[in-house]
Each structure stands twice: as structure tokens, then as C-alpha cells.
């Protein structure tokens, strides 16, 4: 019954006044990130890393890490709650994970039922969040126990699998996704090699010795890239917002959404655990599942509550499920969890199987705070939904330059170099150009974070085998991971060749 003791310890940490404050701040900012269309969970989390680094600067390293990750994770799952708001009220999804919510959500708003759609979305998200957390608690221990015996070769192959999974599902072209992965791996090699102390690709530039900072690249590619895209492509004029009448859903709506919430939660959680799938895909799958199994499936698309309940539960469950590979294996399965991992590494906390033994306070504090955060979100979202809806009114005219200013402030406050600011701007422009031309940027960031670990595991494995590369296919786990990685790349490719439509994950 270790787990329960750990969980109780976790709650004592999460319930300290400052961690409650951090969780509250996180979920509020997350909801805002979800509501504001110009900014997604990835850029939201990336932007807040420097802010949390400053807020926690006076604390001892481990509790600083706990508090920061509590806040950042709050932004992540909070955004899943907020994303539905604009889908329902504006017919514009705040996040790619809420795209399908527009189908029935906006219809409901048109029929004057926006309030119940929003309420069901919040209730569904809450239940899904709790389901995902219970799954996380149950799976975390066994998974990390299994992973603790992994050899360097196993780890290397597991990371290959992580990258392959994200690349295979990241965009319209797998080739482009793989190119971005390689570019990210290359950026990760810049700087002093930790094993031999040799400087690589630095060309006597002292700013390059410490390597390319992932934070700068992530904020540039995601936050600035999105801002530039909004300026160039969308017009930033205001749209009309549907009115919210009653918030409490009717009994019939409650009854109609119970089963879809349950199905969405479980499906979303399972897909979230898989690397690469993430919140966007799971909301799509949850909606298509409803189309197949729901008794009143004919009503879907015409403002049926199940069309809101299922995808909104699924994306929230997926964001909780995505924490499992991150925390237990040290393999982030999506762009946002990659950024969370980068944040943990900044605090010298290495996610992976040892995390549960070495830093139980960080993990269990985070898990407990996610319970609290989900309760906060439910309480916040029910009565305050009208307030959050008002935030959509924030003129983009102010929002966009402020995002640029926060990016610059954030990067400068952590790095203190003009070089990083220039890199930030370049990444912003590249981020816009690349994603506009279907080069997904999430694999690049993921590769940049995983690259150095991949390389050191590869070298350790090859040192053990005296330079014999067959070690990667001789060890059973390693072989299995490599085979799955290959399948992950080639199965979608084969399906595409046969002319099947393959769902892709925009969130990355």
C-alpha cells in the first residue's frame, strides 16, 4: 500500500498554500489559453516556463520544481477545459483538440443552449480528468518498475519509438515530419559534448558552447509562430459571440451525456498514453465512436449534447494519460508534454523510472495537485463561464503584441543574451513558414529535448557492446521498440498509399 502513502504525502505537498496558489494560477491561465484562439497549450506552457522560473527562484530546487510543474501542468489540462468555450460560442475552436466540439456545440449555441453545452463540457472534462488520474496512479508504479530494468540500448530504442510515433502522426507528410525530427536532433548536438568535452558545431562562438536552449526554440516556434500566422492569415477583427442563457443542463441532457462521457474518458485516456496520439486525435476518435455506437446518433451534428460531451471528455482524459509516458518512461508523447519535460530538466529533475524513487515528492505532489486542479476547474468553469466568455472579447490588437513582448521578456529573463532573442525571432519566422508549408514543428522540439539523451544512451550501449551495433536488435525490449517504431511510420504510409484518409494530430 505504498501508493496510498505516497498519495497522502502528495496531498500534503499539493495542499500547502503556495502550491494551491500555483495550481489555481495554472488552471486559470490554462483556461485563458484555451479560450484565446491565438495561443495554444504548447505556446502557453512554453511562455510560462520563464515566468514560473522567476516565481520559484527563491525556493529550494526540488520544491521549486514541484511548484513549477504543478503550475505548468495546470495550464496544460486547463487549456483543455477552455478550448471548448470558443468552439461552442464562436464556432472557432480555441485549440485543435476542440475542433470536433464545434460540430454540435455551435449548433447548440444557435439553439440557445450554449449554457448547457458549456456545462456538460466542464462536467465531462472533470470526470475524464479524474478517470485519467486514477489510471495514472494505477499504471505509474508498475510501468516505472518495468522500465527500471531497461538497458541503455532499450532506452535508445524507446526514444526512437517516441520520435517515430510523434513524427508518424504529426502532419500531412511523414517525410517532412522526419526531416524536422532530424533538424531537432542536429540542434541538440550543438555545444560541448558531455562525454568527451569536444565542442561540436560551435565555431568559436561562446554563445553556442552551452548548446541551443530548448526554451528559446519552443517559444519562438510555437508562440511567435502562431502570432505571425494570426497577423498574416486570419483577420483579427472581432466576431459575434452567442449568448449564454441557462447554465444548468436539463435532466435529459445529463442522461444523454453520461455514456458518451464514460466512453470518451476511457478512449481518450488510452489514446493519451500512446505516444504521438494526444488530445486532438482522441477527440476525433471519440466523436466517430459516438457516431457508431450512440443510440441517437442521427441527432449528431444537429446540436446533440453527446457531440460535445464525448470529445471534450476525451481530450481531457488524453492530456492526463499523456503524463504517464512522460513521468514513468521519460518519453513525452506530444509537443506539450515535451515542453513539460524540458521544464523538469531545467530544474534538474529527470523524468523516467527513477523519478518515482528519487523524487517522489515531485511526482506525487503533481498527481495530487491535478486532483485539486480539476476540482478548481469545475468550480471555476460552472459559474464563471460567462466571465471567461467575455475574455474572448479581448482585442487581438492588444493580445498579439503582448504575446511577443512576453516571449521576449521570458527568454531574456532566463537567458540574458541578445543572441537568444535573435534566435527567438528567427525561430518565430521559421515556425510560421514551416508550419504553413506542412512541416510540423512539434517533432523538432521533441527531438531537441530527446536528442542528447538518445545520443548518450546510444554511446553507452555501444560502449557495452564494444562498438557492435547489433546490440540494438539483440536485446528483446530494444528490438520490440524498434519494430513498433518502424510499424508506426510505415502503417500510416501504407494506408495513405491505399488512398485512406489518415487522421493526423495538429497538436503534435
Amino acid at each position: 500500500m505504498d501508493t496510498i502513502n505516497y498519495l497522502i504525502d502528495g496531498f500534503t505537498i499539493a495542499l500547502s498554500w503556495y502550491n494551491i496558489l500555483f495550481a489555481l494560477l495554472g488552471v486559470i491561465i490554462g483556461t485563458l489559453v484555451g479560450v484565446l484562439p491565438g495561443i495554444g497549450p504548447m505556446s502557453g506552457v512554453a511562455l510560462l516556463i520563464p515566468v514560473t522560473a522567476t516565481l520559484t527562484s527563491g525556493m529550494p530546487l526540488e520544491s521549486a520544481a514541484t511548484s513549477s510543474i504543478i503550475l505548468l501542468a495546470g495550464v496544460y489540462y486547463g487549456a483543455m477545459y477552455g478550448g471548448s468555450t470558443t468552439s461552442i460560442l464562436l464556432n472557432t475552436p480555441g485549440e485543435s483538440s476542440s475542433v470536433v466540439t464545434t460540430l454540435d456545440g455551435y449548433q447548440m449555441a444557435q439553439q440557445g443552449r450554449a449554457g448547457s453545452a458549456l456545462a456538460i463540457a466542464a462536467i465531462g472534462s472533470f470526470i475524464a480528468g479524474i478517470v485519467a488520474l486514477i489510471g495514472l496512479i494505477l499504471l505509474a508504479e508498475p510501468l516505472s518498475k518495468l522500465a527500471i530494468d531497461f538497458s541503455p540500448a532499450d532506452y535508445f530504442s524507446l526514444m526512437v519509438l517516441g520520435l517515430a510515433a510523434v513524427s508518424g502522426l504529426a502532419g500531412k507528410s511523414i517525410t517532412k515530419a522526419l526531416i524536422m525530427t532530424c533538424a531537432g536532433l542536429f540542434l541538440g548536438t550543438i555545444g560541448i559534448d558531455v562525454v568527451t568535452g569536444v565542442a561540436r558545431f560551435t565555431y568559436n562562438q561562446s554563445v553556442l558552447y552551452s548548446g541551443i536552449e530548448f526554451l528559446t526554440v519552443a517559444v519562438g516556434l510555437f508562440a511567435l509562430g502562431e502570432v505571425f500566422k494570426t497577423i498574416l492569415e486570419k483577420d483579427y477583427k472581432q466576431e459575434e459571440i452567442s449568448k449564454i442563457n441557462r447554465i444548468i443542463p436539463t435532466k435529459e441532457e445529463m442522461k444523454d451525456s453520461a455514456a458518451p462521457i464514460a466512453r470518451g474518458s476511457i478512449l481518450g485516456f488510452l489514446l493519451g498514453v500512446l505516444p504521438g496520439a494526444g488530445a486532438t486525435l482522441s477527440s476525433f476518435f471519440a466523436y466517430s465512436l459516438e457516431k457508431k455506437v450512440n443510440k441517437k446518433r442521427d441527432k449528431l451534428g444537429k446540436g446533440y449534447i453527446a457531440g460535445v460531451a464525448a470529445p471534450e471528455s476525451a481530450n481531457n482524459a488524453a492530456s492526463g494519460g499523456a503524463m504517464i509516458p512522460l513521468l514513468t518512461l521519460g518519453i513525452p508523447g506530444s509537443g506539450t508534454t515535451a515542453i513539460l519535460m524540458g521544464a523538469l530538466i531545467m530544474y534538474n529533475v529527470q523524468p523516467g523510472p527513477l523519478l518515482f524513487e528519487e523524487k517522489p515528492n515531485v511526482v506525487w505532489g503533481l498527481i495530487a495537485s491535478m486532483f485539486i486542479g480539476n476540482v478548481m476547474l469545475l468550480i471555476l468553469n460552472m459559474p464563471l463561464v460567462k466571465v471567461f466568455a467575455k475574455i474572448i472579447d479581448t482585442p487581438k490588437k492588444y493580445l498579439l503584441p503582448i504575446i511577443i513582448a512576453i516571449s521576449i521578456f521570458g527568454v531574456y529573463a532566463v537567458q540574458y543574451t541578445t543572441f537568444d532573442l535573435i534566435l527567438l525571432l528567427v525561430c518565430g519566422i521559421l515556425g510560421y513558414l514551416l508550419s504553413k508549408n506542412d512541416f510540423p514543428v512539434a517533432p523538432l522540439v521533441l527531438a531537441l529535448i530527446l536528442g542528447p539523451m538518445m545520443e548518450s544512451n546510444m554511446r553507452r550501449a555501444l560502449t557495452i557492446s564494444n562498438g557492435d551495433y547489433s546490440i540494438f536488435i539483440k536485446e528483446p525490449f530494444s528490438l520490440a521498440f524498434l519494430i513498433i517504431a518502424l510499424l508506426w511510420i510505415f502503417i500510416p504510409l501504407l494506408l495513405k498509399m491505399r488512398g485512406k484518409n489518415v487522421v493526423i494530430s495538429d497538436e503534435g
Binding site: 522567476t54 516565481l55 527562484s57 507528410s173 517525410t175 517532412k176 522526419l178 526531416i179 532530424c182 533538424a183 536532433l185 542536429f186 548536438t189 559534448d193 562525454v195 568527451t196 569536444v198 561540436r200 558545431f201 505571425f228 497577423i231 498574416l232 492569415e233 483577420d235 483579427y236 482585442p395 487581438k396 490588437k397 492588444y398 498579439l400 503584441p401 503582448i402 511577443i404 513582448a405 521576449i408 521578456f409 531574456y412 529573463a413 540574458y416 541578445t418 532573442l421 535573435i422 527567438l424 525571432l425 519566422i429 513558414l433 508549408n437 506542412d438 512541416f439 538518445m454 545520443e455 546510444m458 554511446r459 555501444l462 560502449t463 564494444n466 562498438g467
Partner: protein, 160 residues
């Protein structure tokens, strides 16, 4: 989707791959004779990049027909007036961001941030300058006072 961009980028990534490969050979030579020196991993990445760029190039040629239709459509889009004015706004924002970055360390956070925000607000939508002025001043003030005075962070404040 853009045929030209894909072609150019496959070329750029190929050159990058070649560069990484050649440079990583130099790294390996300059270190001790071990089985897996610091150059091996980058060399593999370089080769992979070259191969992938060739694949991308072939794909681009293969899908030429589909691309052509799409290209015509995008051409139409990019020619209309609204996107022209969007481009102008975009370039002003990029240039002011660049100036902001360059001057940040020279004349301090407060002046540059305020000016950048004010210019950017007015570029995105020309409206009452007084609101832009207040929002820019409020943001700059909050960040500076909050970060430097309350949290004890470090920022180049003012030039004097």
C-alpha cells in the same frame, strides 16, 4: 502547400545534411580513437537528412499535378488586397520586434518595451492612441515593477 517552398526546402535540408555530415567527420578525426566518438551521432543525422531531402524532392515532383492546381488557388489568395495589407503589417511588426531586441540591452527594458507595444498596437489597428498608450504603459510597468522590484529579478531598466 507550396511546390516552390518544398523544392527549395528539400535543397536547403540536403545542404544542411551534407554540411552536418562533413563537419562531423572532422570532429571524429580530432578526438581519440574510440569506437563511438562524438562525431558518429551527428554523422548519422546528416546522412538521414540527406536521404529524407531526396525523398521529399521526389515526392514534390510526383505530386506536381496536384500541386499546380493548389498553387493557382493560392496565387489568387495572395494577390487580394487584404492579404497585401496583412503582409505590410507583418513586416512592420517583424522590423519593430527586431529593433526592440537589438536595443533592449542598449537603452533598457522600459523604453523599448513601451515603444514596441505602442507601435505594434497602432500598426495592427489604427484607433485611439490614448488607449494604446495606456495599455503599453501598464504592461511595461507591471512587468518591470513586478519582476525587478517585487521578485528581485534582473533587467536592464533605463539607460540613465
Amino acid at each position: 502547400m507550396n511546390l516552390k517552398f518544398d523544392k527549395i526546402s528539400s535543397l536547403v535540408f540536403f545542404i544542411l545534411g551534407l554540411f552536418i555530415f562533413l563537419e562531423s567527420r572532422k570532429i571524429s578525426q580530432s578526438t581519440l580513437d574510440t569506437a563511438i566518438g562524438p562525431g558518429v551521432f551527428p554523422a548519422v543525422i546528416g546522412i538521414a537528412l540527406m536521404v529524407l531531402s531526396v525523398v521529399l524532392f521526389i515526392e514534390t515532383i510526383k505530386f506536381k499535378k496536384i500541386y499546380k492546381i493548389i498553387e493557382k488557388e493560392t496565387e489568387k489568395e495572395s494577390n487580394d488586397e487584404e492579404s497585401q495589407s496583412n503582409k505590410k503589417v507583418f513586416f512592420i511588426i517583424i522590423i519593430s520586434t527586431f529593433l526592440y531586441i537589438l536595443l533592449l540591452e542598449k537603452i533598457g527594458y522600459v523604453i523599448t518595451t513601451f515603444l514596441f507595444l505602442f507601435v505594434a498596437f497602432q500598426t495592427l489597428e489604427r484607433s485611439k492612441w490614448i488607449t494604446s498608450f495606456i495599455v503599453a504603459a501598464l504592461f511595461t510597468g507591471t512587468i518591470y515593477v513586478g519582476f525587478v522590484k517585487i521578485l528581485g529579478g534582473n533587467l536592464p531598466g533605463l539607460p540613465f
